[in-house]
Protein backbone atom coordinates (compact mmCIF):
# COMPACT_ATOMS: atom_id res chain seq x y z
CA UNK A 1 0.00 0.00 0.00
CA UNK A 2 2.89 2.40 0.80
CA UNK A 3 4.39 1.83 -2.64
CA UNK A 4 0.96 2.35 -4.24
CA UNK A 5 0.53 5.69 -2.46
CA UNK A 6 4.06 6.65 -3.49
CA UNK A 7 3.17 6.06 -7.15
CA UNK A 8 -0.11 7.94 -6.70
CA UNK A 9 1.62 10.92 -5.09
CA UNK A 10 4.38 11.13 -7.70
CA UNK A 11 1.90 10.73 -10.54
CA UNK A 12 -0.28 13.46 -9.07
CA UNK A 13 2.72 15.75 -8.72
CA UNK A 14 3.68 15.01 -12.31
CA UNK A 15 0.18 15.70 -13.59
CA UNK A 16 -0.06 18.88 -11.54
CA UNK A 17 3.33 20.07 -12.80
CA UNK A 18 2.38 19.41 -16.44
CA UNK A 19 -1.08 20.96 -16.16
CA UNK A 20 0.13 24.05 -14.28
CA UNK A 21 2.95 24.73 -16.74
CA UNK A 22 0.51 24.21 -19.62
CA UNK A 23 -1.86 26.64 -17.92
CA UNK A 24 0.83 29.32 -17.82
CA UNK A 25 0.64 29.57 -21.63
CA UNK A 26 -3.01 28.79 -22.44
CA UNK A 27 -4.80 31.74 -20.77
CA UNK A 28 -2.44 34.20 -22.44
CA UNK A 29 -3.27 32.62 -25.81
CA UNK A 30 -7.00 32.91 -25.02
CA UNK A 31 -6.74 36.53 -23.88
CA UNK A 32 -4.28 37.87 -26.44
CA UNK A 33 -6.18 36.29 -29.36
CA UNK A 34 -9.28 38.32 -28.43
CA UNK A 35 -7.28 41.51 -27.91
CA UNK A 36 -5.43 41.12 -31.21
CA UNK A 37 -8.78 40.45 -32.93
CA UNK A 38 -10.21 43.69 -31.53
CA UNK A 39 -7.12 45.68 -32.51
CA UNK A 40 -7.19 44.35 -36.07
CA UNK A 41 -10.92 45.08 -36.27
CA UNK A 42 -10.19 48.74 -35.40
CA UNK A 43 -7.47 48.79 -38.06
CA UNK A 44 -9.87 47.23 -40.59
CA UNK A 45 -12.47 49.91 -39.82
CA UNK A 46 -10.12 52.93 -39.64
CA UNK A 47 -7.28 51.89 -42.00
CA UNK A 48 -5.02 53.75 -39.56
CA UNK A 49 -1.43 52.47 -39.95
CA UNK A 50 -0.81 52.97 -36.22
CA UNK A 51 -3.43 50.35 -35.43
CA UNK A 52 -1.83 47.99 -37.93
CA UNK A 53 1.51 48.43 -36.15
CA UNK A 54 -0.13 47.90 -32.76
CA UNK A 55 -1.92 44.78 -34.01
CA UNK A 56 1.29 43.32 -35.44
CA UNK A 57 3.25 44.00 -32.25
CA UNK A 58 0.80 42.14 -29.99
CA UNK A 59 0.33 39.45 -32.61
CA UNK A 60 4.05 38.78 -32.45
CA UNK A 61 3.89 38.35 -28.66
CA UNK A 62 0.86 36.08 -29.18
CA UNK A 63 2.94 34.01 -31.62
CA UNK A 64 5.84 33.66 -29.16
CA UNK A 65 3.49 32.47 -26.44
CA UNK A 66 1.71 30.09 -28.82
CA UNK A 67 5.01 28.58 -29.98
CA UNK A 68 6.22 28.02 -26.42
CA UNK A 69 2.92 26.63 -25.17
CA UNK A 70 1.75 24.53 -28.11
CA UNK A 71 1.76 20.76 -27.49
CA UNK A 72 2.70 21.08 -23.80
CA UNK A 73 -0.77 19.69 -23.06
CA UNK A 74 -0.17 16.56 -25.14
CA UNK A 75 1.98 15.22 -22.29
CA UNK A 76 -1.16 15.00 -20.17
CA UNK A 77 -2.53 12.48 -22.66
CA UNK A 78 0.72 10.49 -22.49
CA UNK A 79 0.33 10.36 -18.71
CA UNK A 80 -3.24 9.07 -18.98
CA UNK A 81 -2.09 6.02 -20.94
CA UNK A 82 0.92 5.22 -18.75
CA UNK A 83 0.33 6.48 -15.20
CA UNK A 84 -3.48 6.43 -15.17
CA UNK A 85 -4.36 3.46 -17.36
CA UNK A 86 -7.21 2.24 -15.11
CA UNK A 87 -8.77 5.68 -15.27
CA UNK A 88 -8.25 5.98 -19.05
CA UNK A 89 -10.03 2.70 -19.63
CA UNK A 90 -12.78 3.34 -17.07
CA UNK A 91 -13.80 6.71 -18.59
CA UNK A 92 -14.02 5.19 -22.06
CA UNK A 93 -15.38 7.42 -24.80
CA UNK A 94 -16.41 10.14 -22.34
CA UNK A 95 -12.90 11.45 -22.38
CA UNK A 96 -11.95 10.14 -25.81
CA UNK A 97 -14.75 11.85 -27.77
CA UNK A 98 -14.25 15.43 -26.54
CA UNK A 99 -10.47 15.16 -26.83
CA UNK A 100 -10.74 13.72 -30.34
CA UNK A 101 -13.01 16.60 -31.38
CA UNK A 102 -10.56 19.00 -29.78
CA UNK A 103 -7.63 17.47 -31.66
CA UNK A 104 -9.26 17.27 -35.05
CA UNK A 105 -11.48 20.35 -35.22
CA UNK A 106 -10.15 22.99 -32.92
CA UNK A 107 -6.42 22.36 -33.11
CA UNK A 108 -6.32 22.19 -36.92
CA UNK A 109 -8.62 25.22 -37.20
CA UNK A 110 -6.37 27.15 -34.86
CA UNK A 111 -3.17 26.06 -36.61
CA UNK A 112 -4.45 26.78 -40.12
CA UNK A 113 -5.65 30.28 -39.40
CA UNK A 114 -2.55 31.15 -37.36
CA UNK A 115 -0.56 30.62 -40.56
CA UNK A 116 -2.81 33.11 -42.36
CA UNK A 117 -2.45 35.53 -39.44
CA UNK A 118 1.32 35.61 -39.71
CA UNK A 119 2.00 34.91 -43.40
CA UNK A 120 -1.05 36.44 -45.00
CA UNK A 121 -0.73 40.20 -44.48
CA UNK A 122 0.10 40.94 -48.11
CA UNK A 123 -1.28 37.75 -49.63
CA UNK A 124 -4.94 37.66 -48.63
CA UNK A 125 -7.56 40.38 -48.50
CA UNK A 126 -7.83 42.47 -45.30
CA UNK A 127 -11.26 40.99 -44.68
CA UNK A 128 -10.03 37.39 -44.99
CA UNK A 129 -7.07 38.21 -42.74
CA UNK A 130 -9.36 39.69 -40.11
CA UNK A 131 -11.61 36.62 -40.35
CA UNK A 132 -8.55 34.40 -39.86
CA UNK A 133 -7.52 36.30 -36.74
CA UNK A 134 -10.97 35.88 -35.22
CA UNK A 135 -11.15 32.23 -36.29
CA UNK A 136 -7.84 31.65 -34.49
CA UNK A 137 -9.39 33.11 -31.34
CA UNK A 138 -12.52 30.99 -31.79
CA UNK A 139 -10.36 27.91 -32.40
CA UNK A 140 -8.50 28.54 -29.15
CA UNK A 141 -11.83 28.79 -27.30
CA UNK A 142 -13.11 25.58 -28.91
CA UNK A 143 -9.92 23.78 -27.84
CA UNK A 144 -10.58 24.92 -24.31
CA UNK A 145 -14.26 23.92 -24.55
CA UNK A 146 -13.62 20.23 -25.20
CA UNK A 147 -10.88 19.94 -22.61
CA UNK A 148 -13.10 21.61 -20.02
CA UNK A 149 -16.12 19.44 -20.93
CA UNK A 150 -13.97 16.39 -20.21
CA UNK A 151 -12.72 17.94 -16.96
CA UNK A 152 -16.25 18.91 -15.89
CA UNK A 153 -17.43 15.33 -16.40
CA UNK A 154 -14.79 14.20 -13.90
CA UNK A 155 -16.23 16.66 -11.37
CA UNK A 156 -19.86 15.82 -12.14
CA UNK A 157 -20.19 12.56 -14.11
CA UNK A 158 -23.48 12.73 -16.05
CA UNK A 159 -24.80 11.43 -19.37
CA UNK A 160 -23.12 8.04 -18.99
CA UNK A 161 -23.82 4.46 -17.96
CA UNK A 162 -21.28 2.01 -16.64
CA UNK A 163 -21.02 -1.23 -18.63
CA UNK A 164 -19.44 -3.98 -16.46
CA UNK A 165 -18.72 -6.14 -19.52
CA UNK A 166 -16.56 -3.45 -21.11
CA UNK A 167 -15.51 -2.05 -17.71
CA UNK A 168 -16.13 1.38 -19.21
CA UNK A 169 -18.51 4.26 -18.85
CA UNK A 170 -20.51 4.52 -22.05
CA UNK A 171 -21.93 7.83 -23.18
CA UNK A 172 -25.74 7.71 -23.13
CA UNK A 173 -26.45 11.42 -23.58
CA UNK A 174 -23.86 13.56 -25.38
CA UNK A 175 -25.68 16.82 -24.61
CA UNK A 176 -25.94 16.00 -20.91
CA UNK A 177 -22.15 15.74 -20.90
CA UNK A 178 -21.54 18.90 -22.96
CA UNK A 179 -24.23 21.08 -21.40
CA UNK A 180 -23.93 20.04 -17.75
CA UNK A 181 -24.03 23.04 -15.38
CA UNK A 182 -20.49 22.19 -14.30
CA UNK A 183 -19.21 22.21 -17.91
CA UNK A 184 -20.92 25.48 -18.86
CA UNK A 185 -19.71 27.36 -15.80
CA UNK A 186 -16.24 25.88 -16.03
CA UNK A 187 -15.91 26.81 -19.71
CA UNK A 188 -16.97 30.43 -19.33
CA UNK A 189 -15.16 30.93 -16.02
CA UNK A 190 -11.92 29.57 -17.45
CA UNK A 191 -11.99 31.25 -20.86
CA UNK A 192 -13.03 34.61 -19.42
CA UNK A 193 -10.21 34.40 -16.88
CA UNK A 194 -7.94 34.21 -19.95
CA UNK A 195 -9.33 37.60 -21.06
CA UNK A 196 -8.40 39.00 -17.65
CA UNK A 197 -4.90 37.61 -17.92
CA UNK A 198 -4.48 38.91 -21.47
CA UNK A 199 -5.77 42.32 -20.38
CA UNK A 200 -3.30 42.58 -17.50
CA UNK A 201 -0.46 41.43 -19.76
CA UNK A 202 -1.21 44.13 -22.36
CA UNK A 203 -1.65 46.84 -19.71
CA UNK A 204 1.52 45.74 -17.89
CA UNK A 205 3.73 45.67 -20.98
CA UNK A 206 2.27 49.02 -22.09
CA UNK A 207 3.10 50.47 -18.67
CA UNK A 208 6.71 49.39 -19.26
CA UNK A 209 6.65 51.35 -22.53
CA UNK A 210 5.37 54.38 -20.62
CA UNK A 211 8.05 53.91 -17.97
CA UNK A 212 10.73 53.92 -20.67
CA UNK A 213 8.95 56.79 -22.45
CA UNK A 214 8.91 54.86 -25.71
CA UNK A 215 6.03 54.48 -28.19
CA UNK A 216 3.67 56.34 -25.90
CA UNK A 217 0.78 56.32 -28.38
CA UNK A 218 1.01 52.54 -28.85
CA UNK A 219 1.03 52.10 -25.08
CA UNK A 220 -1.97 54.35 -24.43
CA UNK A 221 -4.07 52.81 -27.21
CA UNK A 222 -3.12 49.31 -26.01
CA UNK A 223 -4.02 50.13 -22.40
CA UNK A 224 -7.50 51.12 -23.54
CA UNK A 225 -8.09 47.82 -25.37
CA UNK A 226 -6.37 45.68 -22.73
CA UNK A 227 -8.19 47.55 -19.96
CA UNK A 228 -11.63 47.06 -21.46
CA UNK A 229 -11.06 43.38 -22.28
CA UNK A 230 -9.73 42.87 -18.77
CA UNK A 231 -12.60 44.74 -17.11
CA UNK A 232 -15.30 42.89 -19.08
CA UNK A 233 -13.36 39.68 -18.43
CA UNK A 234 -13.09 40.12 -14.66
CA UNK A 235 -16.76 41.12 -14.26
CA UNK A 236 -17.91 38.09 -16.27
CA UNK A 237 -15.38 35.84 -14.52
CA UNK A 238 -16.85 36.88 -11.18
CA UNK A 239 -20.36 36.27 -12.47
CA UNK A 240 -19.50 32.79 -13.78
CA UNK A 241 -17.55 32.19 -10.56
CA UNK A 242 -20.84 32.69 -8.74
CA UNK A 243 -22.41 30.10 -11.05
CA UNK A 244 -19.51 27.75 -10.33
CA UNK A 245 -20.03 28.19 -6.58
CA UNK A 246 -23.69 27.23 -6.90
CA UNK A 247 -22.78 24.17 -9.01
CA UNK A 248 -20.03 23.14 -6.56
CA UNK A 249 -22.38 23.49 -3.58
CA UNK A 250 -24.85 21.21 -5.33
CA UNK A 251 -22.56 18.56 -6.82
CA UNK A 252 -19.33 18.79 -4.78
CA UNK A 253 -20.37 20.11 -1.34
CA UNK A 254 -17.25 18.65 0.29
CA UNK A 255 -15.10 20.82 -2.01
CA UNK A 256 -17.06 23.92 -1.03
CA UNK A 257 -16.66 23.06 2.67
CA UNK A 258 -12.88 22.70 2.15
CA UNK A 259 -12.71 25.98 0.19
CA UNK A 260 -14.14 27.71 3.28
CA UNK A 261 -12.50 25.56 5.96
CA UNK A 262 -16.05 24.90 7.16
CA UNK A 263 -16.52 21.93 9.52
CA UNK A 264 -19.94 22.62 11.05
CA UNK A 265 -22.38 24.40 8.78
CA UNK A 266 -25.52 26.29 9.66
CA UNK A 267 -28.39 28.23 8.14
CA UNK A 268 -27.32 31.79 7.26
CA UNK A 269 -23.68 30.71 7.00
CA UNK A 270 -21.09 33.49 6.99
CA UNK A 271 -18.22 33.55 4.48
CA UNK A 272 -14.58 33.96 5.50
CA UNK A 273 -13.22 36.99 3.65
CA UNK A 274 -9.79 36.49 5.16
CA UNK A 275 -8.57 33.93 7.65
CA UNK A 276 -5.77 31.81 9.05
CA UNK A 277 -6.66 28.13 9.52
CA UNK A 278 -5.91 26.29 12.74
CA UNK A 279 -3.46 23.55 11.62
CA UNK A 280 -4.54 21.35 14.59
CA UNK A 281 -8.15 21.22 13.43
CA UNK A 282 -9.39 17.89 12.07
CA UNK A 283 -12.91 16.69 11.34
CA UNK A 284 -13.04 14.65 14.54
CA UNK A 285 -11.83 17.14 17.16
CA UNK A 286 -13.51 20.17 18.69
CA UNK A 287 -10.85 22.78 18.05
CA UNK A 288 -11.70 26.11 16.45
CA UNK A 289 -11.17 25.87 12.66
CA UNK A 290 -9.56 29.33 12.46
CA UNK A 291 -6.77 31.04 14.38
CA UNK A 292 -8.04 34.31 12.95
CA UNK A 293 -10.81 35.20 10.55
CA UNK A 294 -12.77 38.13 9.14
CA UNK A 295 -16.19 36.94 8.04
CA UNK A 296 -19.16 38.44 6.22
CA UNK A 297 -22.57 37.46 7.67
CA UNK A 298 -24.76 35.23 5.44
CA UNK A 299 -22.08 35.40 2.72
CA UNK A 300 -21.63 31.69 2.05
CA UNK A 301 -25.38 30.97 2.05
CA UNK A 302 -25.86 33.75 -0.50
CA UNK A 303 -22.89 32.63 -2.62
CA UNK A 304 -23.70 28.92 -2.62
CA UNK A 305 -27.50 28.90 -2.54
CA UNK A 306 -28.55 32.47 -3.45
CA UNK A 307 -30.53 32.46 -0.20
CA UNK A 308 -29.23 34.23 2.95
CA UNK A 309 -30.98 31.72 5.23
CA UNK A 310 -30.00 28.54 3.39
CA UNK A 311 -28.09 25.78 5.15
CA UNK A 312 -24.55 25.16 3.93
CA UNK A 313 -23.12 21.84 5.13
CA UNK A 314 -19.64 21.63 6.63
CA UNK A 315 -17.23 18.69 6.48
CA UNK A 316 -18.68 17.10 9.64
CA UNK A 317 -22.28 17.51 8.42
CA UNK A 318 -21.44 15.79 5.14
CA UNK A 319 -19.63 12.93 6.87
CA UNK A 320 -22.55 12.46 9.28
CA UNK A 321 -25.10 12.94 6.47
CA UNK A 322 -27.19 15.70 8.07
CA UNK A 323 -28.70 18.92 6.76
CA UNK A 324 -30.88 21.51 8.46
CA UNK A 325 -33.98 23.18 7.13
CA UNK A 326 -34.39 26.97 7.67
CA UNK A 327 -36.86 25.99 10.44
CA UNK A 328 -34.10 24.07 12.22
CA UNK A 329 -35.35 20.56 11.42
CA UNK A 330 -32.73 17.90 10.65
CA UNK A 331 -32.82 16.06 7.33
CA UNK A 332 -30.80 12.86 6.97
CA UNK A 333 -28.95 12.18 3.74
CA UNK A 334 -26.45 9.39 2.99
CA UNK A 335 -23.65 9.55 5.55
CA UNK A 336 -20.12 8.73 4.43
CA UNK A 337 -20.22 5.49 6.44
CA UNK A 338 -23.34 4.50 4.47
CA UNK A 339 -21.69 5.51 1.22
CA UNK A 340 -18.68 3.32 2.03
CA UNK A 341 -21.02 0.38 2.69
CA UNK A 342 -22.90 0.99 -0.58
CA UNK A 343 -19.58 1.30 -2.43
CA UNK A 344 -18.47 -2.06 -1.05
CA UNK A 345 -21.70 -3.65 -2.22
CA UNK A 346 -20.99 -2.25 -5.69
CA UNK A 347 -17.49 -3.77 -5.57
CA UNK A 348 -18.90 -7.13 -4.51
CA UNK A 349 -21.43 -7.01 -7.36
CA UNK A 350 -18.69 -6.22 -9.89
CA UNK A 351 -16.56 -9.08 -8.55
CA UNK A 352 -19.51 -11.47 -8.83
CA UNK A 353 -20.16 -10.22 -12.36
CA UNK A 354 -16.58 -11.11 -13.31
CA UNK A 355 -16.90 -14.59 -11.80
CA UNK A 356 -20.25 -15.19 -13.52
CA UNK A 357 -18.78 -14.06 -16.83
CA UNK A 358 -15.92 -16.54 -16.47
CA UNK A 359 -18.42 -19.32 -15.77
CA UNK A 360 -20.71 -18.25 -18.61
CA UNK A 361 -23.62 -17.83 -16.15
CA UNK A 362 -25.80 -15.20 -17.83
CA UNK A 363 -28.45 -15.24 -15.07
CA UNK A 364 -25.85 -14.48 -12.39
CA UNK A 365 -24.32 -11.83 -14.66
CA UNK A 366 -27.69 -10.07 -15.03
CA UNK A 367 -28.28 -10.23 -11.27
CA UNK A 368 -24.83 -8.86 -10.45
CA UNK A 369 -25.18 -6.17 -13.13
CA UNK A 370 -28.49 -5.01 -11.62
CA UNK A 371 -27.02 -4.80 -8.11
CA UNK A 372 -24.00 -2.96 -9.47
CA UNK A 373 -26.20 -0.40 -11.24
CA UNK A 374 -28.22 0.09 -8.03
CA UNK A 375 -25.10 0.86 -5.95
CA UNK A 376 -22.80 2.33 -8.59
CA UNK A 377 -23.33 5.99 -7.63
CA UNK A 378 -21.03 5.43 -4.61
CA UNK A 379 -18.67 2.93 -6.27
CA UNK A 380 -15.59 4.99 -5.36
CA UNK A 381 -16.39 5.05 -1.63
CA UNK A 382 -15.85 1.28 -1.56
CA UNK A 383 -12.10 1.94 -1.57
CA UNK A 384 -12.17 3.80 1.76
CA UNK A 385 -11.78 2.36 5.23
CA UNK A 386 -12.64 5.59 7.02
CA UNK A 387 -14.76 8.65 6.12
CA UNK A 388 -11.74 10.90 6.73
CA UNK A 389 -10.18 9.49 3.54
CA UNK A 390 -12.88 11.34 1.57
CA UNK A 391 -11.89 14.77 2.94
CA UNK A 392 -9.75 16.90 0.58
CA UNK A 393 -6.61 18.76 1.73
CA UNK A 394 -8.43 21.59 3.50
CA UNK A 395 -5.56 24.05 3.99
CA UNK A 396 -4.34 24.04 0.36
CA UNK A 397 -7.90 24.32 -0.99
CA UNK A 398 -8.82 27.09 1.48
CA UNK A 399 -5.75 29.26 0.83
CA UNK A 400 -5.81 28.74 -2.96
CA UNK A 401 -9.49 29.78 -3.06
CA UNK A 402 -8.93 32.86 -0.93
CA UNK A 403 -5.83 33.92 -2.88
CA UNK A 404 -7.90 33.64 -6.09
CA UNK A 405 -10.79 35.67 -4.67
CA UNK A 406 -8.60 38.40 -3.12
CA UNK A 407 -6.46 38.68 -6.28
CA UNK A 408 -9.64 38.76 -8.40
CA UNK A 409 -11.05 41.59 -6.30
CA UNK A 410 -7.78 43.50 -6.69
CA UNK A 411 -7.88 43.00 -10.49
CA UNK A 412 -11.40 44.46 -10.70
CA UNK A 413 -10.21 47.61 -8.92
CA UNK A 414 -7.04 47.65 -11.03
CA UNK A 415 -8.93 47.73 -14.34
CA UNK A 416 -11.43 50.35 -13.14
CA UNK A 417 -8.57 52.60 -11.99
CA UNK A 418 -6.44 52.07 -15.11
CA UNK A 419 -9.36 52.85 -17.45
CA UNK A 420 -10.29 55.92 -15.42
CA UNK A 421 -6.70 57.17 -15.62
CA UNK A 422 -6.20 56.50 -19.32
CA UNK A 423 -9.45 58.29 -20.26
CA UNK A 424 -9.73 61.00 -17.61
CA UNK A 425 -6.37 61.53 -15.88
CA UNK A 426 -3.73 60.51 -18.40
CA UNK A 427 -1.15 62.68 -16.63
CA UNK A 428 -1.35 60.33 -13.61
CA UNK A 429 -0.41 57.45 -15.93
CA UNK A 430 2.98 59.13 -16.32
CA UNK A 431 3.74 58.64 -12.62
CA UNK A 432 6.24 55.86 -12.08
CA UNK A 433 4.31 54.34 -9.20
CA UNK A 434 1.28 53.77 -11.46
CA UNK A 435 3.46 52.34 -14.21
CA UNK A 436 5.18 49.97 -11.77
CA UNK A 437 1.76 48.97 -10.43
CA UNK A 438 0.79 47.96 -13.96
CA UNK A 439 3.98 45.97 -14.47
CA UNK A 440 3.82 44.23 -11.07
CA UNK A 441 0.20 43.21 -11.64
CA UNK A 442 1.40 40.79 -14.34
CA UNK A 443 2.58 38.14 -11.80
CA UNK A 444 -0.54 38.77 -9.69
CA UNK A 445 -2.88 37.67 -12.50
CA UNK A 446 -0.89 34.48 -13.08
CA UNK A 447 -0.98 33.68 -9.35
CA UNK A 448 -4.74 34.28 -9.41
CA UNK A 449 -5.18 32.03 -12.42
CA UNK A 450 -3.07 29.19 -11.01
CA UNK A 451 -4.85 29.46 -7.64
CA UNK A 452 -8.15 28.90 -9.41
CA UNK A 453 -6.78 25.74 -10.97
CA UNK A 454 -5.48 24.51 -7.59
CA UNK A 455 -8.86 25.22 -5.94
CA UNK A 456 -10.74 23.23 -8.59
CA UNK A 457 -8.38 20.27 -8.74
CA UNK A 458 -7.13 19.90 -5.16
CA UNK A 459 -10.58 20.64 -3.75
CA UNK A 460 -12.07 17.62 -5.50
CA UNK A 461 -9.56 15.20 -3.99
CA UNK A 462 -9.53 12.29 -3.29
CA UNK A 463 -11.60 11.90 -6.45
CA UNK A 464 -10.34 11.62 -9.98
CA UNK A 465 -14.01 11.02 -10.92
CA UNK A 466 -16.40 12.40 -8.33
CA UNK A 467 -17.83 9.58 -6.14
CA UNK A 468 -16.85 6.90 -8.67
CA UNK A 469 -13.08 6.62 -8.66
CA UNK A 470 -10.47 7.87 -6.19
CA UNK A 471 -6.99 8.66 -7.50
CA UNK A 472 -5.50 5.58 -5.88
CA UNK A 473 -7.81 3.29 -7.89
CA UNK A 474 -6.99 5.11 -11.12
CA UNK A 475 -3.26 4.52 -11.01
CA UNK A 476 -1.40 1.96 -13.16
CA UNK A 477 0.75 -0.83 -11.85
CA UNK A 478 4.05 1.02 -12.35
CA UNK A 479 7.00 1.88 -10.13
CA UNK A 480 7.35 5.20 -8.37
CA UNK A 481 10.96 5.52 -9.58
CA UNK A 482 9.91 5.56 -13.25
CA UNK A 483 7.49 8.41 -12.52
CA UNK A 484 10.17 10.30 -10.58
CA UNK A 485 12.57 10.14 -13.56
CA UNK A 486 10.05 11.61 -16.00
CA UNK A 487 8.89 14.12 -13.39
CA UNK A 488 12.37 15.66 -13.23
CA UNK A 489 12.74 15.51 -17.02
CA UNK A 490 9.53 17.52 -17.30
CA UNK A 491 10.81 20.02 -14.74
CA UNK A 492 13.86 20.64 -16.93
CA UNK A 493 11.89 20.77 -20.22
CA UNK A 494 9.13 23.04 -18.98
CA UNK A 495 11.45 25.36 -17.11
CA UNK A 496 13.52 25.62 -20.29
CA UNK A 497 10.42 26.52 -22.29
CA UNK A 498 9.32 29.08 -19.73
CA UNK A 499 12.76 30.70 -19.60
CA UNK A 500 12.87 30.69 -23.42
CA UNK A 501 9.46 32.36 -23.62
CA UNK A 502 10.33 35.04 -21.09
CA UNK A 503 13.74 35.73 -22.72
CA UNK A 504 12.34 35.93 -26.28
CA UNK A 505 9.43 38.11 -25.17
CA UNK A 506 11.65 40.50 -23.20
CA UNK A 507 14.08 40.71 -26.12
CA UNK A 508 11.30 41.45 -28.62
CA UNK A 509 9.58 43.97 -26.32
CA UNK A 510 12.87 45.74 -25.62
CA UNK A 511 13.93 45.79 -29.28
CA UNK A 512 10.57 46.98 -30.58
CA UNK A 513 10.26 49.60 -27.88
CA UNK A 514 13.41 51.29 -29.18
CA UNK A 515 11.97 51.59 -32.69
CA UNK A 516 9.31 54.02 -33.80
CA UNK A 517 6.63 51.49 -34.61
CA UNK A 518 5.03 51.66 -37.96
CA UNK A 519 3.72 49.08 -40.37
CA UNK A 520 7.06 48.30 -41.97
CA UNK A 521 8.97 47.89 -38.72
CA UNK A 522 6.97 44.91 -37.54
Amino acid sequence: MDDLMNVVDWSRWQFALTAMYHWLFVPLTLGLSIIVGLMETIYYKTKDAKWLAITKFWMLLFGINFACGVATGIILEFEFGTNWSNYSWFVGDIFGAPLAIEGILAFFMESTFIAVMFFGWKKVSPRFHLASTWLTAIGACLSALWILVANAWMQYPVGTEFDPAQMRNVMSDFWAVVASPMAINKFFHTVLSGWVLGGVFVVGVSCWFLLKKRNIELAQKSIKIGGWVGLVGIVLTMWTGDGSAVAVSKYQPMKLAAMEGLYDGKCGQEIVAFGILNPQKTYDNNQDPYLFDVSLPYGLSILAKHDPNAFVPGINDLIKGVELTPEGDTIHIDSYAQRIEIGRQAHAALREYGEAEKNGDSVAMADASARLAQNFKYFGYGYFNNPSEAVPPVALTFYAFHIMVIAGGYLLIFFVVILFLVYKKSSVLNKKIVQWLGILTIPVVWICSQSGWVTAEVGRQPWIIQDLMPTRAAISNISASSVQITFWMFVVLFTGLLVAEICIMLKVINKRSKEELDNENI
Partner: protein, 77 residues
Protein backbone atom coordinates in the same frame (compact mmCIF):
# COMPACT_ATOMS: atom_id res chain seq x y z
CA UNK B 1 -8.52 18.85 -67.71
CA UNK B 2 -9.24 22.37 -66.44
CA UNK B 3 -10.50 21.00 -63.10
CA UNK B 4 -7.20 19.22 -62.43
CA UNK B 5 -5.17 22.28 -63.45
CA UNK B 6 -7.27 24.40 -61.14
CA UNK B 7 -6.69 21.99 -58.24
CA UNK B 8 -2.95 21.92 -58.87
CA UNK B 9 -2.93 25.65 -58.97
CA UNK B 10 -4.61 25.87 -55.58
CA UNK B 11 -2.20 23.36 -54.05
CA UNK B 12 0.75 25.19 -55.56
CA UNK B 13 -0.55 28.51 -54.26
CA UNK B 14 -0.96 27.10 -50.75
CA UNK B 15 2.56 25.65 -50.87
CA UNK B 16 3.98 28.95 -52.09
CA UNK B 17 2.06 30.75 -49.35
CA UNK B 18 3.76 28.65 -46.68
CA UNK B 19 7.23 28.60 -48.30
CA UNK B 20 7.31 32.37 -48.75
CA UNK B 21 5.86 32.84 -45.29
CA UNK B 22 8.59 30.74 -43.71
CA UNK B 23 11.30 32.49 -45.76
CA UNK B 24 10.19 35.94 -44.68
CA UNK B 25 10.20 35.13 -40.97
CA UNK B 26 12.61 36.69 -38.50
CA UNK B 27 11.73 35.85 -34.90
CA UNK B 28 9.43 33.14 -36.26
CA UNK B 29 12.39 31.01 -37.38
CA UNK B 30 13.54 30.58 -33.80
CA UNK B 31 9.98 29.85 -32.75
CA UNK B 32 9.52 27.17 -35.41
CA UNK B 33 12.88 25.66 -34.45
CA UNK B 34 11.67 25.58 -30.84
CA UNK B 35 8.37 23.94 -31.83
CA UNK B 36 10.12 21.27 -33.91
CA UNK B 37 12.69 20.47 -31.20
CA UNK B 38 9.88 20.30 -28.66
CA UNK B 39 7.79 17.94 -30.81
CA UNK B 40 10.81 15.67 -31.40
CA UNK B 41 11.48 15.51 -27.64
CA UNK B 42 7.82 14.89 -26.84
CA UNK B 43 7.05 12.22 -29.43
CA UNK B 44 10.40 10.54 -30.08
CA UNK B 45 11.86 10.66 -26.57
CA UNK B 46 9.03 10.88 -24.04
CA UNK B 47 6.30 8.99 -25.90
CA UNK B 48 8.48 6.21 -27.34
CA UNK B 49 10.80 5.69 -24.38
CA UNK B 50 8.83 6.61 -21.28
CA UNK B 51 5.09 6.73 -21.95
CA UNK B 52 3.75 3.55 -23.52
CA UNK B 53 0.00 2.98 -23.51
CA UNK B 54 0.19 0.14 -20.99
CA UNK B 55 -3.10 -1.57 -21.75
CA UNK B 56 -2.48 -1.52 -25.51
CA UNK B 57 1.06 -2.81 -25.01
CA UNK B 58 0.26 -5.60 -22.55
CA UNK B 59 -3.04 -6.96 -23.88
CA UNK B 60 -4.22 -7.92 -27.36
CA UNK B 61 -7.99 -7.56 -27.12
CA UNK B 62 -10.47 -5.24 -25.46
CA UNK B 63 -11.87 -8.19 -23.48
CA UNK B 64 -8.44 -8.85 -21.96
CA UNK B 65 -8.02 -5.17 -21.18
CA UNK B 66 -11.43 -5.04 -19.49
CA UNK B 67 -10.55 -8.11 -17.44
CA UNK B 68 -7.20 -6.58 -16.44
CA UNK B 69 -8.83 -3.32 -15.35
CA UNK B 70 -11.51 -5.20 -13.37
CA UNK B 71 -8.83 -7.16 -11.52
CA UNK B 72 -6.80 -4.04 -10.91
CA UNK B 73 -9.78 -2.05 -9.61
CA UNK B 74 -10.93 -4.77 -7.23
CA UNK B 75 -7.60 -6.03 -5.85
CA UNK B 76 -5.12 -4.39 -3.51
CA UNK B 77 -6.49 -0.87 -3.68
Amino acid sequence: MPMKNNQESIIRRILRFYVEGFKSMTVGRYLWAMILIKLVILFFVFKLCFFPDLLSRDYDTDEERAQAVRSSLLDNR
